[in-house]
Symmetry: C2
Subunit: 236 residues, 2 copies
Amino acid sequence: MAQVKTAKFTIIKDHICKMIESGEWVQHSKVPSENVLAEQFSVSRMTARRALQELTEQGLLVRSQGAGTFVATFKSQSSLLEIRNIADEIHDRGHQHHALQLELISVDVNNELAILLGVKESEKVYYSEVLHFENNEPIQLEQRYVNSTLVPEYLQQNFAQITPHEYLSSEAPLTEATNEVEAILANSETCLQLNIESSTPCLQVKRRTWSSKGVVSLAILTAPGNKYRLGSHLTF
Amino acid sequence: MAQVKTAKFTIIKDHICKMIESGEWVQHSKVPSENVLAEQFSVSRMTARRALQELTEQGLLVRSQGAGTFVATFKSQSSLLEIRNIADEIHDRGHQHHALQLELISVDVNNELAILLGVKESEKVYYSEVLHFENNEPIQLEQRYVNSTLVPEYLQQNFAQITPHEYLSSEAPLTEATNEVEAILANSETCLQLNIESSTPCLQVKRRTWSSKGVVSLAILTAPGNKYRLGSHLTF
DNA sequence: CAAGCAAGCTTGTATATACAACTATTGACC
DNA sequence: GGTCAATAGTTGTATATACAAGCTTGCTTG
């Protein structure tokens, strides 16, 4: 019998999942302790522990030292949405991707930008504009302000070859990021670039990224709502 | 000395993080093996292993049985965005939340709905509409179609007390979900409910949730872009 | 030279054990 | 009855060990 051998801790995990999914163990139910599970399944405590541990990381259980393990409350109070690199996404959809590099200059910062990028108002920052195409149609405008101190060679890159995002990731390892997603009406210039009516609602993602040395960049991604949407699929 | 004792595996994790953040270990660098780390830090292999394990789960490292442990590629090719329950979110912002329940009926399904909910075209589904307020202003319209077979008691609930989402989570433990985020223009009825101009772009999240028995519900969340945005903050 | 095999290193799973840290309950004492 | 302390039970950290499974390298052999 060439049966695939299932790890013991997986068997325990599956069992616990079943009890929760079937509703047998409801919210806040106490889950058997490590020692009890270990005896029930004839494994060592460390193996039973691993099952509980992994389910806790998945958010199915909650553990409290001294008190015990419990079924977590509402497993999906917040869902996670993946915001992908648009080039990858288009590629995965099997379509052709082409990026048009519009500008690549050094600009003075205004007050708001200075604060967002964590630089002084007198400093210069780099600005790049890349227009992403899918099947010869513009689909996303990527505007990016980059901290010139942290990434001095930014302007020398050719972003038809490597995306700004990829370059920045390789230059300054990221340690943190924030994203904000809004529905907006684009300004007239952006509408022209994206070839849309001025009344077309757009998805706009603002993303700030940090390396260990400070704020690296502020990216503003704008895409028309009738051509683009964010999607995700997740399993608990 | 009442010093907080740091766990050994945490010290190793911190060390590895530093090496990556500082750029000393770049992408695809080979990370010292469990045995080597164990000796370097004078701990057992299981302790060194735990450090590597946890960083792998965080996506900082990649491990391959037989080959070794390596620094992962581009840590942020896709960012994760948290889509929270609006009631929680408003609460966390310190504002008042009030939900107005508009409709709670049983409706016939059309073709598209039947497919999305995985029911036959002849079956009934439940429909609910809840308007969420923040500080007495409408901020999100929640429309929801619910599989009447899987959640038969749905219509009997009072959604001023418990949100549909919370009720569904408790009734039919979720195993899967998909989200889609779009920028749209709302129809005239929705504009009236949300008290916005018809030209106001809106964020619309479509969320389908599964339990182990099938598709539970399709939620359509619509919020005006000038009053609401999705945000997230994540650390690597 | 090429193919294939074997050795050695790596990660993966599992066990038994020990002690630390924390919680909740019980019971004694005031 | 209320307060406090001891206790039993639970999770958290750490070690030493053993074997399984997969990759890499280098050597043997045809």
